[in-house]
Symmetry: C2
Subunit: 205 residues, 2 copies
């Protein structure tokens, strides 16, 4: 029965503290005592909210993948009829998500090996689903003759890699606005997929 003295629920505070510390020092290098200290409680009290350190990591990693998948699915539903517009929306969502939730995304990519086997498979499975959705859009564009696709799998990887990379350097108060980053990357991706100018213009921003 945690006291919500400051308006923040203890489970949320634990999650936020864990994200900040796992991001900054890594999962293995973070002790539950540090997490507890950041929340303002003692280590024993953590166990009223979590079952263990690995479950804390698993919930963060599965949560971020679920949110990412949900965001992509939502965006695809809005553009079922126009794959070029869908690709633009995918890139937009992908880059924004990776920039805005950079810490969780970074954890998701760097701590996979720290997960128990079962949770490892779940996270990898969700990542595969995500890639398959983007790849499907690229193949649709190709099937409509609106792009010159060389290798849909590698071209999907190129998109994924950009997001991961953005998450590693983007800072909200950095030199470049998120809008500008999204716009530039969208342009690069469209070039890379070989979308013709006509197709771009017909759905242009």
């Amino acid at each position: 029965m945690p006291r919500p003295t400051n308006g923040v629920r203890t489970p949320d505070a634990i999650r936020e503290a864990a994200i900040a510390l796992f991001y900054e020092h890594g999962y293995e290098a973070t002790s539950l005592r540090e997490v507890a200290a950041k929340v303002g409680i003692r280590v024993g009290s953590l166990y009223n909210h979590i079952s263990g350190k690995d479950e804390l990591l698993s919930s963060i990693m599965i949560g971020i993948m679920d949110d990412l998948l949900a965001a992509l699915r939502g965006v695809l539903r809005e553009h079922e009829d126009d794959p070029v517009a869908a690709l633009r929306a995918c890139v937009d969502t992908h880059i924004r998500f990776h920039a805005q939730r950079a810490r969780e995304v970074f954890i998701g990519n760097s701590e996979l090996r720290a997960l128990p086997a079962k949770e490892h498979r779940r996270v990898v499975g969700k990542r595969d689903q995500y890639e398959k959705l983007i790849r499907g859009v690229i193949e649709e564009i190709s099937a409509q003759g609106k792009a010159e696709v060389v290798d849909a799998r590698l071209q999907t990887y190129a998109i994924v890699a950009m997001g991961t990379h953005v998450a590693s350097w983007y800072k909200p108060r950095g030199g470049m606005s998120l809008e500008a980053i999204v716009q530039t990357y969208t342009e690069l991706i469209l070039r890379q997929v070989g979308v013709s100018s006509a197709a771009v213009a017909s759905t242009g921003s």
Copy 2:
């Protein structure tokens, strides 16, 4: 005075064992006892060859960056007169290096935060140099009017990100040959930089 009983120098064996374990479990999750066991000695004996766990990590990370920089500089020297050919060579070297030395590259990207401040700065400095070299090539192509550069920094990032990503999935016995991966990524990068077909053809492989 280590005995070279099996033809492998103990320092090399320690380095190889550390790379394998840091890659598989991470730096913090790897104990020096595991490293020693893999080499076939006891933990105390490690200290005849290393000064500490962090120095072991630092030497791996600085070593990989030095090798990567040297490879890129060598390739640039061969194409000083033709920036489009230089870019092709950069991508070739970048992808091959990241595929062939995937474990070290992965460590280099995931364990930066585990480095002492001084070594952290050194590694980041070398990475900045690397990016600056690639960016310079892109800007040269742009200055010669042979490409449509949108943002040289982000386009450099896109190249770097692909290599990092390749390092995360490439397996020598995987389904796709390294040759095919290099060829596809080169094509994608050239598209992305906006190199005109004529310029590509004039230096085509």
